[in-house]
């Protein structure tokens, strides 16, 4: 478990990062928290010729919540998200999701940009960002571009990142005040990637009707999946158990789910339904309480 030889470049600012990427393009990998890249290199699953270490680009590490938008720098450690008051107040889903990421030691190193760039199926933060209204800001020497999460993550371990690009920032449009979030994950051990996970945020209008519902699932799916049809079906009056179960059943039946050696497809679908139903109930009940109060 030693990596193949590689050239190591450390960059201190975004300009140097942009040029290094322009120079080495597809032959390079970015080293942020290193919680996935380093083991993958040690296993020689990947053997990049160049590793560009951006840990000293301090300008990429920030959480900035203003108005209805929260901006998170790509180098922001998971632990910073976990500990952030504004995020836990305004965007509780992300805080709940991040607590399911491995253990604290990993969260001290792992970064928002890193987990997005890897796009590991079953990873928690991509699911939370897919469920919320999130844009990803990418940058290269050629310029900057903005992609919605759905256009950014294309599948398992597959994103729209070009070789010369890096993730600069994540922009989340906050759920409305009074919303409730629920992130429900199933894994056999605490801290593992999800066998199945569901993320739901719900909010009500002045009349107590569900007017904001966001739902997504991951685990057994390639990319995390936003369930827009279910969101529409369940908005409005509170669904009873039957309507909710039907919608959940339809939503999971409609998505592509992969089985593997450990967890066959039918089991994954069963669990996806279970976690989704739990997360929906939690969030809908939670948002009701807020309205009543």
């Amino acid at each position: 478990m030693k990596p193949a030889p590689f050239k190591y470049i450390e960059v201190a600012d975004e300009e140097a990062l942009t040029s290094a990427l322009a120079d080495y393009g597809d032959d390079a990998r970015l080293l942020a928290g290193g919680q996935s890249l380093v083991p993958m290199m040690n296993f020689r699953v990947v053997s990049p010729e160049v590793v560009i270490d951006l840990n000293r680009v301090g300008a990429l590490s920030y959480i900035d919540c203003r108005d209805d938008v929260c901006r998170i720098g790509a180098l922001t450690r998971h632990a910073m998200i976990e500990d952030s008051d504004p995020l836990s107040r305004r965007c509780a889903l992300l805080g709940q999701a991040v607590r399911n990421v491995a253990h604290r030691a990993v969260r001290n190193r792992g970064t928002t940009g890193g987990t997005l760039a890897l796009a590991y199926p079953g990873a928690e933060i991509p699911l939370a960002l897919m469920t919320l209204d999130t844009d990803i800001i990418l940058r290269s020497k050629r310029g900057e571009r903005r992609l919605g999460m759905k256009d950014f993550v294309l599948g398992a371990l597959d994103t729209s990142l070009s070789g010369d690009e890096y993730i600069r920032q994540v922009e989340i449009r906050m759920p409305p005040p009074g919303s409730a979030a629920s992130f429900v994950e199933t894994s056999r051990r605490h801290g593992d990637f999800a066998i199945a996970a569901a993320a739901v945020v719900a909010a009500r209008d002045d009349h107590g009707r569900l007017d904001y519902l966001r739902a997504g699932v991951a685990g057994g799916t390639g990319a995390p999946v936003r369930l827009t049809a279910l969101e529409e079906a369940l908005s409005g009056d509170d669904p009873d158990d039957g309507r909710m179960a039907d919608s959940v059943h339809e939503a999971i039946a409609a998505i592509e789910v992969f089985g593997d050696h450990h967890y066959p497809e039918d089991f994954r679908r069963h669990v996806l339904k279970g976690v989704l139903q739990r997360a929906l109930k939690d969030a809908i009940v939670g948002s009701e309480r807020r309205h009543v109060r």
Partner: protein
């Protein structure tokens, strides 16, 4: 002279400061010279394939690579490792002609550092022609199965049948026959520290120096010496001061010691190899997985009269020493804590395209206890008698000890009813049953499970020879095997300080602390007044064939030797003091560092006595004895097997009463162990804190096998759990809340009254947890027959029931 006072205790352990401040010295900490080469293995990516060709050129061209050796090269200096079973297929530790499991070594690359060695591995060009693989033990035993070793003609590498008492009559007269089929999984020990070897060949003596984190048993040293073609004593085996966990797996490093030593000889330079985690999962060793049928002849009132069992044991791609010992615990303690006087066991070891097996904490115990305790639960279910009551009815009674079982095991002592009652006290005081009802009422699936098991300890090396038939053992020229023994050395220096030397190859158990307690008690000193050196260098440390840390033997065997050495040194000191103080030796007491004449003011300090004996030797009478003593101790009652395959397999037999509480998520079917109770008879407790640590670790090890850990393979022989992403070791988050207590049914036979405690719930927890899962799923009428209990497995069972 008998000293009767409690063992002195200390906070923490003597080892703690060294280990906690990072001053442990492990294999990878040992300094090596600049000429040392670093090894990396090329391992098979196939479960089963012919090696069509190996081209070394590209690997040798890599900067820093010095040599590439294959089986053909190593064969010049390394023979196959001898097997316990005569005629078993050759095992060389490296593939010859074919690869037979994923991860099997195919070549060794030696380079100036590990990075270059791994670059060489990446560059090495090996052509394979894939063959059909077989990984399931029953599939491999079928006549049509692909053959692992073509010349051997079958994958069933060993089989034997054992019969005790009169099972035919018992089954004929039984009111009921209860039978179940079970599957026990393949998993291992997962020590924090992986294998490591540093070897050097000494041409001037035709000998080897091998540093390795080898835990013993040292009966494997002659196996290694035979393969390396040298007399036993030409291998200087040095075990580093610290081993980062062993748990049985570190016995199975021996083939790698052979391979690296052979590399050192061919390269004429020292060679170092530190196994990495991926290699450890793919290529170290594991416990066996087992398919079995077990059935009991049961009377109307739930008494088990006899057991019949059929065992198909998966030993992986090679049968290597000490296999087939993995099945022997199923014979030697087949009746567990119960009075079962007849039994018939058919056992077969089968070769498959999986990692070869070896010791894993409990070595065959967990497999068997899972069978027997699943059977007791099945008997309870079928007779309608409560699970605990069935066990009670079958228990041996306290007055029956010592008790000779039908297989020859000589149970030294016990109070199974009393120990179980103590465990039940915990269960009642903690309100387990109320908690279960409350949680169930709120819609959760919760169950309580039980296992009551016998913990044999300090094994008789003779049990290994049950692999041979009585006829083979009766042949002229056959050398019988029996016993277990070890050494201790103790010395008083001129300043009056005691120093003990042992060689246990310990791995963090706290052996030095326990030894210091034994000696401190004898001399009435504090634990920290004793220095303990626990190190093995076979050139200077006394050792025996049975040396090592395995089979929960430390406190019985090494503890016994230490106690004897300490007592004999104390006798010597009394004789010296008798001369100095002019009083008879039996009137002299030693305590708190003072030597006192009983009922008098006459005394001298240990320091004065040592000083006089060292500096004023000439003035002492000639027969005055030395200030250092070596003692060996052989555990009692251990003979070689008789002509009926009866053998007392261990020096002592503890008892374990375990309870587990399991919760299963009713939607995702993820199981968790919430609580665990373990009350174990460990005999006299030298250090309750160390015992507690052993049992807590054992519970979590057993939890791994019950719910999480599985070295599983797909049909092509690919390992599906080759990293910690898929090989799920329980972490602190998964550890249950534990109530641990020990129950002292002192052994009448061992020196200190101690019994072993090292394997403990690693053997019983899989059974207790399976029992709890059954209880949690009671509304679905299922019964767990296979481990680990995974969410998809529970889902299938529940879906099948509803």
């Amino acid at each position: 002279m008998q000293i009767d006072r409690p063992f002195p205790q200390i906070e923490g352990r003597l080892e703690d400061a060294r280990l906690l401040f990072g001053r442990g010295r492990y294999i990878d900490d040992l300094p090596v010279g600049p000429s040392t080469l670093h090894a990396a293995f090329t391992r098979s990516p196939y479960g089963h394939a012919t090696i069509a060709g190996i081209n070394k050129d590209a690997a040798l061209a890599v900067d820093g690579v010095v040599a590439v050796y294959t089986a053909a090269d190593l064969g010049a200096v390394l023979d196959p490792f001898p097997s316990i079973v005569r005629g078993a297929p050759e095992y060389r530790g490296i593939a010859t002609g074919k690869v037979r499991y994923v991860g099997e070594p195919v070549a060794v690359v030696l380079a100036r550092d590990r990075y270059a060695a791994e670059d060489g591995v990446s560059a090495l060009d090996i052509a394979y022609e894939a063959l059909p693989a077989v990984v399931d033990v029953d599939a491999a035993a079928a006549e049509t199965a692909p053959l692992l070793h073509d010349d051997f003609g079958t994958n069933v590498v060993w089989r034997n049948r054992y019969r005790y008492g009169d099972p035919e009559t018992a089954f004929r007269e039984a009111d009921r026959i209860v039978g179940i089929d079970l599957k026990f999984p393949k998993y291992n020990s997962t020590p924090l520290e992986t294998y490591g070897v540093i070897a050097e060949y000494l041409p001037e003596t035709d000998g080897y120096v091998i540093h390795g984190n080898f835990q013993g048993p040292f009966s494997l040293m002659p196996v290694l010496a035979r393969a390396l073609r040298v007399p036993d004593s030409r291998i200087r085996m040095v075990v580093p001061q610290d081993i980062g966990g062993s748990f049985g797996i570190k016995a199975m490093i021996y083939p790698y010691m052979g391979l690296i030593a052979a590399c050192a000889r061919l390269a004429e330079r020292p060679v170092k190899w530190i196994e990495d985690r991926a290699e450890h999962l793919l290529g170290s060793a594991s416990g066996t997985d087992r398919n079995s049928h077990i059935e009991a002849a049961v009377s109307r009132d739930g008494l088990v009269r006899a057991i019949r069992m059929n065992i198909r044991e998966n030993v992986g791609a090679y049968l290597r020493a000490p296999e087939p010992s993995c099945v022997m615990r199923s014979l030697t303690t087949f009746s567990g804590p119960y009075r079962i006087e007849s039994g018939e066991i058919e056992a077969a070891c089968v070769l498959t395209n999986t990692l070869p097996t070896g010791l894993n904490r409990g070595y065959g115990g967990q497999q068997y206890m899972f069978s027997l305790e699943r059977l007791m639960d099945a008997i309870a279910r079928e007779t309608g008698i409560d699970r605990i009551e069935v066990r009670r009815r079958n228990f041996l009674k306290a007055a029956e000890f010592p008790y000779r079982t039908t297989t020859g095991s000589y149970y030294d002592s016990g109070d199974y009813h009393g120990c179980l009652e103590r465990a039940l006290d915990y269960l009642r005081n903690e309100g387990w049953e109320r908690m279960r009802e409350e949680l169930r009422a709120s819609g959760r699936l919760v169950g309580i499970g039980v296992a009551t098991c016998v913990h044999s300890a300090a094994s008789n090396i003779g049990y290994v020879t049950l692999a041979l038939s009585p006829e083979e053992r009766a042949k002229r020229g056959y050398n019988a095997k029996s016993g277990t023994n070890d050494f201790a050395h103790i010395a008083l220096d001129a300043s009056g300080r005691l120093r003990v030397q042992i060689g246990t190859a310990g791995a963090g158990q706290g052996h030095a602390t326990a030894v210091a307690q034994i000696v401190a008690r004898e001399f009435g000193l504090g634990v920290r007044d004793i220095d303990v050196i626990d190190r093995i260098d076979t050139e200077t440390t006394p050792w025996t064939i049975t040396t090592g840390t395995y089979a929960s033997r430390f406190s019985v065997v090494v503890g016994g030797a230490v106690q004897r050495a300490a007592a004999r040194l104390a006798d010597h000191l009394r004789i010296i003091a008798s001369s100095l103080l002019d009083a008879p030796p039996d009137q002299i007491d030693i305590e708190e560092g003072m030597i006192r004449v009983r009922n008098s003011n006459s005394s001298l300090s240990l320091r004065q006595l040592a000083g006089a004996a060292q500096w004023n030797r000439g003035d002492l009478p000639d027969d005055v004895v030395q200030l250092h003593v070596s003692e060996s101790y052989g555990a009692p009652n251990l003979r070689s097997p008789d002509s009926e395959n009866r053998v007392n397999a261990a020096a002592t037999y503890g008892f374990m009463a375990d309870f587990a509480m399991v919760e299963i998520d009713p939607v995702t079917f993820v199981p968790r162990v919430l609580k665990y109770i373990a009350v174990h008879d460990v005999g006299t407790a030298i250090n309750p804190q160390l015992i507690r640590g052993q049992i807590a670790g054992g519970i979590v090890h057993g939890l791994g096998g019950a719910l999480y850990e599985h070295l599983d393979y797909d049909e092509s022989g690919q390992m599906m759990s080759a990293s910690f992403m898929d090989y799920l070791c329980p972490t602190a988050s998964e550890a249950p809340q534990m109530s641990i207590d020990h129950f002292d049914a002192k052994s009448p036979f061992t020196v200190l009254g101690v019994k072993g405690c090292g394997e403990n719930s690693a053997m019983s927890a899989p059974a207790a947890i399976a029992s709890a899962v059954d209880d949690a799923l009671s509304e679905f009428n299922g019964s767990i027959a296979e481990l680990p209990v995974t969410p998809p497995a529970i889902w299938r069972q529940v879906a099948g029931a509803s």
